[in-house]
Symmetry: C2
Subunit: 147 residues, 2 copies
DNA sequence: TAATATAATTTGAATATCAAAATATTTGAG
DNA sequence: CTCAAATATTTTGATATTCAAATTATATTA
């Protein structure tokens, strides 16, 4: 049996599906004015803390210029606040508004649900194997492409 | 062991980065003028065959209008040819040029590498189980989220 | 203090995307 | 056989995403 072909096909399909599912669920809920990318920015800013633009951009793997524009939109939509740092006036700190925090938690819940649903249908042995394989993919990327 | 947390962390990291990595890998090679989305269009057109615009758009989950523009760019860059069907003159058939076929194969190799690195750490018994587990997850997503 | 470094924003350009309108062609009902 | 409806694609107008390079403001350091 050709494991290589089966595995490749199913991984490609799964990766594509998870993102579709995430987007679809987002568009149905309370925060349908957010794109997936905006939701990931909210996730990266995190709850109950202030992050600088450059920190956040680095974590997301985008340039500061790109983030500036995205943050402009998130402020316009009421999810984020922007303040200059008192210690270093060059630094801009962003933080989630109350609405932003609710969006953060909704996204967190979605992930929890998704993972719980997947684990529910697996035996213990299968759970272990799944984690081993995904960690391995993660390592492969780290080693080979230095992420 | 807390499978939930492990699985969630790995999924978040992997899904956030997998396309970045693929893109980064792409930008280092011979086909650095392609974006990852253009590469996926090349992948969807496939080697040694002609596909219609609507077939291809459907497979990719984008509108024909979006595909038209992307194909314009791929033609300009020399990866794709466009021809009208003889049987039905409404239909436009696209196919890879020689350069397009080379790009296709380079992308195929990236996936082969990834899959090989996953399989190499597994016992034969685990390989079978992995395919089964991933297929189950895929089916589960189909049912629960109607993708 | 003046040069240099750092943080962020702005600008200009390309790609990505959709919905709706427009164009060309085929099909099917009468 | 003809004309309305259906189909395939492209065009248009709008917004989002992205980057690199230029610009602005502030801090650091020689």
């Amino acid at each position: 049996m050709d494991y290589r072909k089966s595995l490749n096909d199913i991984l490609v399909r799964l990766f594509a599906h998870v993102l579709d599912i995430e987007e679809k669920c987002l568009k149905k809920g309370e925060f349908s004015d957010l794109t997936i990318k905006e939701m990931h920015i909210i996730d990266s800013i995190g709850i109950e803390k202030e992050s600088s633009m450059s920190e956040t951009a680095k974590e997301l793997g985008i340039t500061s210029g790109t983030l500036t524009i995205a943050i402009d939109n998130l402020i316009r939509k009421g999810y984020v606040q922007r303040n200059r740092s008192k210690e270093d006036r060059r630094v801009v700190l962003v933080k989630l508004t109350e609405k932003g925090s609710r969006a953060y938690r909704a996204h967190e819940d979605f992930h929890k649900d998704l993972v719980a649903s997947v684990l529910e249908v697996l035996e213990d042995k299968e759970k272990g194997l799944l984690i081993k394989v995904l960690s391995n993919i993660d390592d492969f990327f780290k080693k080979k492409y230095h992420i």
